[in-house]
Symmetry: C2
Subunit: 79 residues, 2 copies
């Protein structure tokens, strides 16, 4: 599903969650990409809100960060 001006904020919030937890883990984007089994530039695109990630990607990234998937989607919807 393409993002629209109304929905891109959810994708950006997700990216900010990934970045926050990655940095807390002191991992580079490349290290996280390797662990998650995604292309090394993919994590940067996710963090910049350029990728409307899927469930499978969410599970791969959260597993690579050692957190449950819930942590990556926490508070991404409008309050």
């Amino acid at each position: 599903m393409k993002t629209t001006p109304e929905t891109v904020k959810y994708v950006r919030r997700f990216g900010q969650r990934v970045r926050l937890i990655r940095q807390q883990n002191e991992l580079s984007q490349e290290e996280l990409a390797d662990r998650a089994g995604v292309h090394r530039t993919y994590i940067g695109m996710v963090e910049r809100g350029e990728k409307n990630a899927t469930i499978v990607t969410i599970v791969k990234i959260s597993g690579a960060l050692g957190v449950p998937a819930t942590e990556l989607v926490r508070e991404i919807e409008d309050a």
Copy 2:
């Protein structure tokens, strides 16, 4: 990202979460689809694990169910 035999289980678990919460809300698949702004057959495909939903779709469905996005991805990864 296409699902593989290793990853389809995450998509199936997500579908089971959607179905469980939809039924708890006593909503039909069509009613949920209308609220979420997705095609009326889409919810059935999600619940059967046939759709690798994206972040935007997760937020739309969780919003339509009146729960945070975390509830739809709770425990979908391997324990």
